[in-house]
């Protein structure tokens, strides 16, 4: 979903910040970590540490889940290793996209316009590992023409869960169904979230079912004019 990254860059540039994207980054290592393969996860996570080693700038991640991996799980993953302090320091300057804008930059109005009824899905890692709940909503409230309709199951897991989604596909699908039906019942035309993997799951189910509801990343909405 390149449009998510593009939107993030454009939103920050419009705010007068420059964005760098270290080309030697790959993945935070979460798939291996969640699978229980810690040595492998550590190898990949070390690549992530390397990619950001030369900068002191804040690292902004448009995914609550990846941000949680770095902020919450790196300290545990690197505990007792030579890079523990470095991992903790990187965690401390890593931010999820919406909280960085609201809490660090102190901005809520990005001048966006999006004339649709939307409902927000709280990605579990952002919500429960990082406690992100109000920042994305405060940003959405300031979007011109946008109407926020909360769904009943906004904080219920969409059923993605990484390899869980294929290992236990029937359960994962049932969870997606609950999420999509609740979103649809809110009357929204668009489901917005701050987590691309949740969006892939939700959109995947909704599209397969032919539900007339669209999925967008928060950054894309905030980048609309």
């Amino acid at each position: 979903m390149p449009q998510v990254g593009v939107s993030v860059v454009e939103v920050f540039e419009r705010l007068g910040h420059s964005v760098d994207y270290p080309r030697n980054q790959t993945c935070c290592g979460q798939p291996a970590f969640n699978g229980g393969f810690h040595p492998e996860a550590r190898e990949v996570a070390a690549t992530f540490l390397n990619a950001f080693r030369d900068s002191r700038d804040p690292v902004v991640v448009p995914s609550g889940s990846c941000a949680a991996m770095v902020k919450v799980f790196y300290p545990e993953l690197f505990a007792g290793t030579a890079r523990e302090a470095e991992a903790k320091a990187l965690g401390a300057r890593t931010w999820e996209f919406s909280t960085f804008i609201v809490e660090q930059l102190g901005v809520t109005d990005l001048g966006a316009t999006f004339a649709k009824k939307v409902t927000f899905h709280d990605g579990c890692h952002g919500l429960r590992e990082l406690g992100i709940q109000s920042a994305p909503r405060r940003l959405l409230e300031k979007v011109r023409g946008l109407q926020l309709a909360e769904m009943k199951e906004c904080a219920t897991c969409c059923g993605f869960g990484g390899s869980f989604a294929v290992k236990y596909a029937p359960i994962s699908t049932a969870m997606a169904e609950v999420k999509c039906k609740s979103a649809y019942a809110s009357g929204a035309e668009v489901i917005v979230s701050n987590d691309p993997s949740c969006l892939m799951q939700i959109n995947g189910y909704a599209e397969k079912q032919g539900m007339p509801i669209q999925c967008l990343h928060l950054a894309e909405v905030l980048n609309s004019r």
């Binding site: 229980g36 393969f37 810690h38 579990c124 869960g161 290992k167 609950v178």
Partner: protein, 474 residues
């Protein structure tokens, strides 16, 4: 309830998929638990500070674990002082034989039981029934599932999967049951069980807490069935896990209301009672004999794990099941364990084998709703990650090991990773003909969900191109 020859993983995959496909049953579970959510939230607001209470309760239960040997000895000494017999059982068999021995010695015929998950754990009913005793569960939910010859569905709400018409049909097999109204069904069971209480020779209960300071067991309930179980028969046997200790009587001031709130949305449940021995001189009634069976059955194995011993602090409120999206979509029987839901997924691998039950730790999206809700702040969903880690380091599954090695190889080499993007695009295009068939590696995903098409240009490519243009522009 035959547990033999069942392969836990196969059973889980099969049963969970079956319930996940049963929209009607899932809706029924969600509606039942929806009511619980509303009352619980309102009741939590009645506390001056529910969140602080959670931290306080967590600390009390930690203290109990940290001081376990000393508290167990104190508990035992106080029980003995007040005339209770204490028996320590290493495993199910030892506990079962001890209880059987008491029943034989007392020449007992009729046994009344109030809800005890520990007795489910040691499969006491099947043994006693096989030995010819008349054993009746007195908790309404337990009574219903016992009559239906199935295991409890949820360790706090044992028959929550059954609809009123199904319960009526179960009761019809016992006697004429005029209506399927919940009130009428409850009165039917009340009547059936009254006689049983009056005639029972032995009462068997569990215990929610063991008060070391005084030598009392504390029982939390709503129906009054445990009250009757501990009042009417001549002998009372209580079975409890060794982890149930509380240091002081005053600790109940916090833990009993919290158990009721987290478990059923009540400020406190209807009956919170303490029992510390047989009837004392000068007291009106009560049993002539009381026994407490302290059960290990895997608990010391869990205690030996310095991370996951945390789970021994559980007060069995069931809240983690009630908020769990997995539980709500697969129901309780799918787990195939005595303790269902998140807490069951954490403790069962320790009690019954890591490799046999590790799949429960993988059958989770790690959403953390359980951890967020647990009244004693057990780190539930992170323990699932720790179980995954331990199971892999003990015995890595081959295919996944290969995949993860590949993942680490590619993702530690940025050049290779970036070469991967055009390759994946090619692969995606080439795989079009097999999509929707089992040859497609994305088959399990695509069966119920679409996958986004590979973008023509990745973010990486877009950013790179832009940087080039910027440079050229300057």
């Amino acid at each position: 309830m035959s547990e033999t020859k069942i392969i836990p993983l196969q059973q889980f995959k099969h049963d969970s998929a079956e319930v996940a496909a049963d929209g009607d049953r899932r809706e029924f579970l969600r509606t039942a638990l929806g009511g619980y959510m509303n009352t619980r939230t309102a009741t939590q607001h009645g506390y001056q500070d529910w969140e602080a209470a959670r931290s306080g309760a967590a600390e009390i239960k930690w203290e109990a674990i940290d001081r376990l040997p000393e508290l167990l000895e104190q508990f035992e000494a106080n029980l003995i002082k007040n005339g209770t017999k204490v028996f320590w059982a290493s495993d199910e068999e030892e506990a079962r034989q001890y209880i059987l021995g008491i029943l034989r010695e007392k020449n007992a015929k009729h046994v009344i039981k109030s809800k005890t998950m520990t007795s489910e754990e040691i499969h006491l009913n099947s043994l006693l029934e096989a030995e010819g005793f008349d054993v009746v569960e007195s908790d309404l939910g337990e009574y219903i599932v016992q009559q239906n010859k199935e295991a409890p569905y949820h360790f706090v709400f044992p028959c929550m999967h059954l609809k009123r018409a199904e319960i009526k049909a179960i009761f019809e097999k016992i006697a004429a049951c005029p209506s399927d109204d919940p009130e009428a069904l409850t009165m039917f069971a009340r009547q059936q069980l009254r006689e049983k209480y009056l005639r029972a020779d032995v009462g068997i209960s569990g215990g929610n807490f063991g008060i070391a300071e005084t030598g009392h067991i504390a029982i939390t309930e709503n129906e009054g069935n445990a009250r009757l179980t501990c009042a009417m028969p001549k002998v009372h046997i209580a079975i409890m896990g060794i982890e149930k200790m509380l240091p002081r009587l005053s600790d109940l001031s916090l833990l009993q209301p919290m158990l009721g709130t987290a478990g059923a949305g009540q400020r406190i449940t209807c009956y919170n009672s303490i029992y510390g021995g047989p009837k004392k001189p000068g007291e009106t009634d009560g049993p002539e004999e009381m026994h407490v069976v302290l059960l290990d059955n895997g608990r010391t194995t869990l205690l030996a794990d310095p991370e996951q011993r945390d789970a021994l602090r559980c007060i069995r409120c069931g809240a983690c099941l009630n908020v769990c999206p997995i539980f709500k979509n697969i129901g309780g029987h799918s787990y195939g364990t005595t303790y269902q839901g998140p807490i069951g997924a954490v403790i069962t691998p320790h009690y019954k084998g890591l490799q046999e039950f590790k799949h429960l730790a993988y059958a989770s999206s790690l959403c953390g709703a359980c951890t967020e809700t647990c009244p004693v702040k057990i780190d539930l969903h992170h323990h699932l990650l720790r179980i995954r880690r331990n199971s892999v380091s003990e015995h890595p599954p081959l295919m996944e090991k290969v995949a993860m090695k590949g993942f680490a190889f590619a993702f530690t080499r940025p050049w290779l990773y970036h070469l991967g993007t055009p390759l994946a695009r090619l692969g995606h295009w080439l795989s079009k003909p097999i999509q929707g068939t089992k040859l497609d590696p994305g088959y399990l995903w695509r069966k119920t969900r679409t996958l986004p098409d590979m973008p023509k240009e990745s973010f990486h490519e877009w950013f790179e191109k832009r940087e080039q243009q910027k440079k050229a522009g300057k």
